[in-house]
């Protein structure tokens, strides 16, 4: 990497982006369907109430629904990969990654979720087929009562 690129990346690290979403019953039902979850607690209000909740509750990793910012298509990189990992590195191919996801409380229909996304780190390692770039993004989710609901630290691995 030349110096200019490094400086650009340094300036991006630690910058927090904030956005808010209201959670609907529809969001929870569709997320549950997408992950193959059939527990009625996610789509049947009466069943959720009989289980001690006021309304339907979301599966534990539900906030993944809000991890990627819904920017207009023209702002995304040409491969459509998330804007969160759009950093000026000479590597665009995805080769895996990891995630650490903490759940502080289950999201419920009607919650207003604040999403705070930060590029935490970028580092390289020598891999079997060349240099690998690790892009680390932290996303924190809180509700309308200012209570944390979840936090995810995701590591994306890219190669040239």
């Amino acid at each position: 990497m030349d110096t200019t690129v490094s400086e650009k990346i340094l300036a991006m690290i630690g910058v927090e982006k904030v956005r808010r979403y209201e959670v609907t019953q529809k969001d929870i039902k569709r997320f549950a369907q997408a992950i193959g979850e059939t527990n009625p607690i996610h789509f049947d209000v009466d069943y959720a109430k009989s289980s001690g909740y006021n309304t339907v509750v979301a599966p534990p990793l539900f906030c993944q629904m809000f991890t990627f910012e819904d920017v207009p298509l023209e702002q995304l990189p040409s491969d459509g990969s998330p804007i969160e990992i759009d950093v000026p590195i000479p590597a665009q191919k995805t080769v895996g990654g990891g995630s650490s996801y903490e759940i502080f409380q289950l999201v419920k229909a009607g919650d207003l979720i604040t999403v705070k996304s930060t590029l935490k780190d970028l580092f390289t390692k020598e891999g079997k087929s060349g240099l690998l770039y690790f892009v680390v993004v932290e996303t924190a989710f809180s509700n309308q009562h200012n209570e944390p609901v979840a936090r995810e630290t995701a590591t994306y691995i890219k190669r040239v």
């Binding site: 569709r30 997320f31 369907q33 997408a34 992950i35 193959g36 979850e37 527990n39 607690i41 289980s51 001690g52 599966p59 534990p60 990793l61 993944q64 629904m65 991890t67 990627f68 819904d70 298509l73 995304l76 491969d79 459509g80 990969s81 998330p82 191919k93 995805t94 895996g96 990654g97 990891g98 995630s99 650490s100 996801y101 903490e102 759940i103 289950l106 995701a154």
Partner: protein, 147 residues
């Protein structure tokens, strides 16, 4: 909710957690991309995926995480909650193939009001090659755990 739910007092390091076998197809990968607004072309364009050196469209890391989560929430039911899940994807998973998710209890401990299990989790493909591995924390709550 399937099967008998685990009782905290009876859980030991040798307690077997039933495996979860899933077979995500192209539709499910599409639905998960739609739900999470993931527009990365490796999840919908086979040509683009192949150009990136992948065998086909790949199953999202996030969806694999949800399978590992379901493995544990299916088992504990309403007696407990998934509190933490950390996983790494080490091999691409492609649609139309079985993924077998397994968990093994690693630690069991109490605090004043909650009961914790730490589990190792893995996901393998139909050749029993590892796709993902990691660790989860499950909490048994006293509210639900006593009955």
């Amino acid at each position: 909710m399937k099967g008998d739910k685990p009782v905290w007092e009876k859980i030991s390091m040798t307690t077997r957690i039933p495996e979860l076998v899933v077979s995500p197809d192209h539709r499910q990968v599409f639905m998960f991309s739609a739900a999470t607004w993931n527009r990365h072309h490796i999840h919908y364009s086979k040509d683009a995926a192949i150009r990136e050196g992948l065998p086909d469209v790949v199953v999202q890391r996030g969806l694999i995480g949800n399978f590992l989560g379901r493995l544990l929430t299916d088992w504990v039911g309403e007696r407990g909650e998934l509190r933490k899940l950390a996983w790494k994807v080490t091999r691409s998973a492609i649609p139309g193939k079985n993924i077998v998710c397994r968990a093994r209890i690693k630690e069991k401990f109490d605090s004043e009001d909650e009961k914790y299990l730490i589990c190792e989790v893995t996901a393998s493909n139909e050749k029993d090659e590892p796709i993902a591995s990691g660790e989860a924390m499950v909490v048994f709550t006293n509210n639900h755990g006593a009955s």
